[in-house]
């Protein structure tokens, strides 16, 4: 028998065993292959030339309303792994105030493969190195002090079985890339300008995505030109003004102040001791005016090419396209099965009808938690970037974060950015350096005054979202247009 058949037999046998021992539910994820490669060129030196291969099994058992989890990298220890997960669940059930349950879901089968033409893991190292050298060459100038090119690629083959009879198989391909140029300004402060690989909504995610100059490598000249402008620019003065976010900055704003506060496990208080809570509560849904009427936000968003698109979540739930915020009103959040069951139980009514398919884990050795998929601001009717600039009296346009710091309940935030363009009376007047802005989340989104049309919409990738105990990183996407907020505190107090 093949390894797969042996493993399937052992997993299904053990799921049966724990269910016969009184478990409410059990599932197992086998990462047949979790390969990643990281190449990092610093000032022309390939200092990072690293591969990782991981393989193993993660098991969850729900017993007495409590979760037990165990993982092993040794397939010979599958029986032990289930025994440990069961023992952990039994131990956890001794201290349970609200008993968790998974609700009902019929068993089903399915498979998903990320769209790709060339598997990036299979491309030869020589070809990858040549490509990176070319990008590095295009970034090289005498006056540039530091150049950094970083590429991260992933391939995961994941099998999932549950006690409900569900089996899914996924092959996920992800490709990330960043270029950064740095130089000292006249005050000897290191300034930088960067560009990350972004997605086309319906493109593919293989090696061909990385080598498409429109999406990344063709931006080197612009990166250099804008860095040169930053070096000679005055500093942004403290004040109250409009702030226009390009997608390079806007995606992180959405990530930190819409995505994270709308994770249901966070809302229910399961992340308090690490990541924090949320200013949103179960009474907020259908009532909270999260933003202006111009704000409509979706989860998943039928984006076929994004690291936040994965077919089935870590509970086998199919990915689902739905609205989180509809014309400014909060209507839904990022959910998994046990969390919606608990939320409905706590609220004494049906707040959430079905799982949002947002249960995800970073590796076989981490238990799934509620994560972002694709969290997107939908395009609006305020035209192009130029149209939005033309209606701005006093503002700045900002791009790409240098720093982000968010309140523990996501109620307030502070961002530093790489570059700002000053806008006065409908026109760009000059570049400014060291831009930053801060605000209070609900007030900020209610000051959303312009949302760009589809021509301004791109899908930005996030490869390193951190959350959970034990800690997990996750890959996801944010589709969004250019957006403008009024009355924003920007710059630093002297």
């Amino acid at each position: 028998m093949s390894i797969f058949n042996d493993l399937r037999e052992a997993v299904t046998r053990n799921i049966g065993k724990v269910m016969n021992s009184g478990a409410q539910y059990s599932d197992a994820r086998w990462y047949e292959d979790d390969s990643s490669e990281m190449l990092m060129m610093l000032d022309g030196n390939l200092e990072g030339n690293d591969t990782t291969i991981e393989s193993g099994l993660g098991v969850r058992v729900l017993y007495g309303g409590a979760w037990g989890f165990a993982a092993t990298s040794q397939t010979a220890k599958i029986d032990t792994c289930f025994d440990r997960a069961m023992a952990n669940a039994v131990s956890a059930s001794l201290l349970v105030k609200v008993k968790l349950d998974m609700g009902k879901m019929d068993g089903h089968t399915g498979s998903y493969t990320s769209p790709f033409e060339i598997d990036p893991i299979d491309v030869s190292l020589s070809e990858k190195v040549d490509f990176l050298k070319n990008v590095d060459d295009s970034l090289t100038e005498d006056w540039i002090l530091r150049r950094m090119i970083r590429v991260q690629i992933q391939r995961m083959i994941i099998h999932f079985w549950s006690s409900e009879g569900t089996y899914t198989q996924k092959k996920l391909i992800n490709t990330f890339a960043h270029m950064t140029a740095m130089a000292l300004d006249s005050d000897r402060q290191m300034q930088r300008r960067s560009k990350s690989l972004y997605c086309e909504t319906e493109g593919t995610r293989g090696w061909e995505m990385l080598t498409n100059p429109v999406l990344w490598s063709g931006h080197a000249e612009r990166v250099k030109a804008e860095l040169k402008e930053v070096l000679a620019a005055p500093e942004l003065e403290y004040g109250n003004r409009s702030v226009i976010l390009l997608p390079g900055q806007g995606h992180l704003q959405v990530h930190e102040t819409i995505g994270h506060p709308l994770e249901l496990d966070r809302i229910l208080g399961y992340e308090l001791s690490y990541a924090g809570g949320s200013f949103v509560n179960l009474d907020s849904f259908g009532k909270l005016k999260y933003g202006s009427d111009k704000l409509t936000v979706s989860a998943y968003g039928s984006i076929t090419n994004s690291p936040g698109t994965f077919g089935f979540d870590a509970e086998g739930t199919p990915e689902r396209d739905y609205l989180l915020i509809d014309k400014g009103i909060l209507v839904n959040c990022l959910t998994s099965r046990a969390m919606i069951s608990e939320a409905n139980q706590r609220a004494g009514r049906e707040v959430f009808a079905e799982s949002g398919g947002a249960s995800r884990s970073t590796a076989f050795y981490r238990a799934p938690i509620d994560r972002m998929t694709n969290v997107n601001i939908l395009p609006g009717n305020d035209g192009t970037l130029e149209d939005i600039i033309s209606t701005t009296e006093d503002g700045i346009i900002v791009d790409n974060p240098t720093s982000w710091s968010i309140g523990s309940n996501r109620e307030h935030f502070h961002f530093g950015c790489e570059i700002a363009w000053e806008v006065k009376n409908g026109e760009i007047t000059r570049v400014l350096r060291n831009p930053s802005y801060q605000g209070h989340t609900v007030e900020f989104y209610n000051n959303l005054s312009a949302v760009g049309d589809e021509s301004t919409w791109v899908v930005e990738q996030v490869e390193n979202c951190g959350k959970g105990e034990p800690n997990q990183v996750m890959e996801l996407g944010h589709g969004l247009p250019v957006v403008k907020f009024d009355n924003v505190i920007s710059g630093e107090r002297k």
Binding site: M41, D43, L46, N49, T52, I53, E54, S55, G56, A66, F69, A70, A71, T72, S73, Q74, T75, K77, R84, A85, N88, S91, A92, L94, L95, V96, K97, L125, L184, R188, Q189, M190, L268, G269, Y270, E271, L272, S273, Y274, G276, Y365, A367, T402, S403, W404, S405, S408, N409, E411, H412, H414, G416, N434, Q438, E469, P470, N471, Q472, E492, R493
Partner: protein, 454 residues
Amino acid sequence: MMNDKLRNMITEVRNKVRDHGIKASIHYHHENSHLMRIGNNSVSLNTSEELTRIDIEVIENRKKGTHTHLGEIGSADDLFKMILMVSEKAGKSAEMDFEPVLTVIEANVETETQYDAALDNLDPSVKERVYSAIFKNVGENYNYSGSWSSGSTETFSVTTANNNSVWHRLTDQQFTCVLKHPEKMWELASWQTGWKAGDVTAEATINEFKSILPVYENHDGFKVEPGSYRVVFGSQSLGDLLGMTVWTGCAGRTWEMKMGWTADRKIGDDVLHPSVTVLDDPENGQIFSEPLSDSGMLTKTQAMIEKGKFAGLLYDRNTASKYGKEATPSAGCLAMQPGEGSVDFLEAVKDFERVLYIPAIHYMNMPNMSKGIFTGSSRFSAVLVEKGKIVSPIFSSRITDQFENIFGKVLAISSETISVNTSNTYGRRAPSAVSVPTWMLVDDVKITDCAESF
């Protein structure tokens, strides 16, 4: 514990690799991890992970390749083939303008001085009982969350540079308990750490919560208007501040790249307040320590900041090679030396009209590394103190300031130090901690924003 068969296999493969003229290091990492997560007064997750990794590095002149395998190691042949694959990868890599350096293990080392079998095999029911005792004694009407990670890390390393090896095993634990008022929404937190089973107790957290609860229960939140304040930083915030200050100011790579706040300073310059001394100190028993540096040297105590003067930079082996410097015997054991202040910070601030006590800073980041500007917000157990008396909790307040101000405008430092666990569980188990004074009083700290909630 790693068996002799596996150890012998790795050593034999090292010898075979050397016979093939390959320069390589082989690093075995085994973790036995357990974490109990608490949410809503319940155990919300109870996990066990047993994971084995092999890390390989191959250097070929000015090129290198690295690989990590997490899974079954298999036979000596399998491991040898893995190294050949990394060797091929290194061969196809790009030449660098410096020669990467293979770790040379200075001496044979076998150590487990910070290992406790009782913690390694701790029954999860012990954790459940500690949390239950806290809920019962402090009050079950509050909402509790937290986590308690414990486990062991075992490593074994060899390189083709010589026949030496290093074996190291240690245990560690990190305990957090957060108490939140279900209606008023304020949060208190208690942290404990250590490497022995008895290092974490319910009593310590119960006493901590009971001492501050009356202030929170009996007073509304205070909104801190933006401006300059005297601030007492507690140990968690001091640990975070110190880590960022040293990483951006005293790491050889950051300094050579002119990225940090010390880029234009030289060794011997006055950079911080004369009361501030910071060491890399493997002898400090409050810190989880590694026996060897990344270059294979036996670790030694080294000053980075001495009485406010810029005293030293830490160089890893490749940064040293790139910039023509000597690698330092760095342990990664950050220790800020105590001052002369009383153990109780309230005693130290009794003559001041108004002081903020900020024990922890949430989500710190740096908008401007060159100027050492950081920002973050107060969270757990932060209070307003007037003439040495705690008068009210404060709402979530943002600090945006410079490291040179924070460690430059020091008014007093506690005479007692404490271990702050700085481990995370991203990727592999890798215990780390810093030793810091229990508090530090600083003048003229910039509060730049305040919410109207906790």
